[in-house]
């Protein structure tokens, strides 16, 4: 299949591991990516916290650019995904707002393309059986908890993602590549998001709570699809609470034996390599 690809700022910065592994996995699964032409930032938390029209217009600029490709747009970053879905929701529900935003952008919004996260694309379009069939190196010994966070799921009528209190797509996907996925009750709890820098003490508490729960569930790592969650879980927990955190695409890339799959493991702020070599996965 072929999709438009919106990497967003994080995947070209702090979350380059996600961009690299996403591209490798897409190629291996025959998902052809066409980058959205001359994209700009989605506005993230900063826009909707301060100015509603700005928070719709910034993603709308990218949605209109993506519409030129006339394909579903795949948005790996959970935060960008949420802002895209939120903008779509408001533009479709409010004609006056749509006219106002089109005036700001000097272009028409059609609303004809579907905004998708790669968890959904891989689970529903490729399928976990097809994924399992491609595994060269099952992730034996890896015990992740899957961490979805807030922005893929909530609010459910906007995100239209999956079971919003107990999602399972990522769990099943990790199981299909040989990981021993641990169940836990914190799949959709918040990591502290955009307050990481401006209100650090609160975020430390929130991340400690998550890591404590992951350890209690018997996990030896966390897997996520959100650059903000990964950054917070790597940087903010207290020293004794830290544990390796992966983008789900990095683990698929490793299990599929893709070339370059080990490169992204070198740049994590919490070193993931000791765990992987101890399990003889690298």
């Amino acid at each position: 299949m072929k999709v438009s690809y919106y990497p967003g700022c994080s995947l070209h910065g702090m979350a380059k591991e996600y961009d690299q592994s996403m591209k490798a996995v897409s190629q291996a699964l025959s998902i052809e990516l066409k980058e959205v032409d001359d994209w700009s930032c989605c506005g993230a938390s900063a826009a909707h916290n301060t100015n509603f029209d700005l928070s719709v217009a910034l993603p709308a600029r990218n949605l209109i650019a993506a519409e030129k490709n006339a394909m579903d747009v795949m948005v790996p970053c959970a935060a960008c995904f949420n802002r895209f879905k939120m903008a779509e929701h408001h533009l479709k529900a409010d004609k006056d707002l749509k006219a106002r935003i089109e005036g700001v952008l000097g272009a028409k919004y059609q609303g004809g393309i579907t905004i998708r996260n790669p968890i959904d694309v891989i689970y529903n379009e490729i399928g976990i059986d097809a994924l399992a069939a491609k595994v060269l190196k099952p992730l034996t010994g890896l015990k992740p908890v899957s961490y979805y966070g807030c922005l893929l799921l909530r609010p459910p009528e906007v995100c239209e993602f999956e079971n919003y209190e107990n999602p399972f797509m990522l769990d099943k996907m990790m199981g299909s590549i040989g990981a021993d996925v641990k169940n836990w009750s914190y799949k959709t709890d918040c990591c502290g998001g955009s307050m990481s820098v401006s209100k650090t003490a609160i975020v430390v508490d929130m991340c400690d709570k998550l890591m404590g729960a992951a350890k209690e569930a018997g996990a030896n790592c966390v897997v996520t699809a959100c650059p903000m969650c990964l950054a917070n879980l790597e940087m903010r927990p207290s020293a004794n609470m830290k544990m390796p955190v992966f983008y789900f695409t990095e683990l698929i890339s490793l299990a599929l034996g893709l070339s370059g799959s080990q490169e992204t493991f070198k740049t994590h702020l919490t070193d993931v390599q000791p765990l992987l070599s101890q399990l003889r996965l690298i």
């Binding site: 700022c9 209100k199 940087m235």
Partner: protein
């Protein structure tokens, strides 16, 4: 004259706040309620009481993380997360000082980065935030590791059509 409640309801543009019957499910699920000056459901009550000055000057509106757990679980679909956005924007437009000033300064630094290059440049944004907040020493231990691992780039990324990006800021902020 429009009451505070009417003003907020109009801006939320959805289920009116009067639909809240104060079951406190929003507060029970809120990950930062314990740090807030007023719980989320209390804010609704204060809006109904017309306590505009207190609400806009509170820490609550800035500490809300927009995790959207409240609206997801509200039995009456009262969009509290959207309400918090509305209150923050009102506070900014009416010149009420943000009780959690650094949270707003971080958002402003983030937006400046978009305005400059169309895409966020993490290093420039961080420097900008530190200058605004005068918080020079936090995370200085993390930055060298990030640089060594190539996580922070020196060169700002850039959207080519910056005219359209700048236009978005000019046109949405002039209203």
């Amino acid at each position: 004259m429009e009451t505070f409640l009417e003003e907020v309801n109009k801006k939320i543009h959805g289920v009116p706040l009067q639909a809240c019957y104060h079951c406190r499910k929003c507060t029970a699920g809120c990950p930062v309620a314990s740090h807030m000056e007023y719980n989320p459901n209390k804010v609704i009550k204060m809006i109904q009481n017309g306590q505009k000055d207190k609400v806009l000057a509170s820490s609550t509106i800035w500490l809300c993380l927009s995790c959207e757990t409240c609206i997801t679980r509200c039995p009456n679909q009262v969009d509290i997360a959207r309400m918090m956005d509305v209150l923050r924007q009102m506070a900014i437009e009416e010149g009420v000082a943000a009780k959690e000033a650094n949270i707003l300064k971080f958002h402003e630094a983030f937006l400046s980065s978009i305005k400059f290059g169309g895409r966020v440049h993490e290093m420039m944004m961080t420097v900008h935030y530190k200058l605004k907040s005068k918080d020079f020493f936090s995370d200085v231990d993390i930055a060298p590791g990030m640089l060594l691992k190539g996580k922070l780039s020196f060169f700002p990324p850039r959207t080519k059509d910056m005219k359209s990006v700048k236009g978005i800021f000019e046109k949405t902020q002039s209203r």
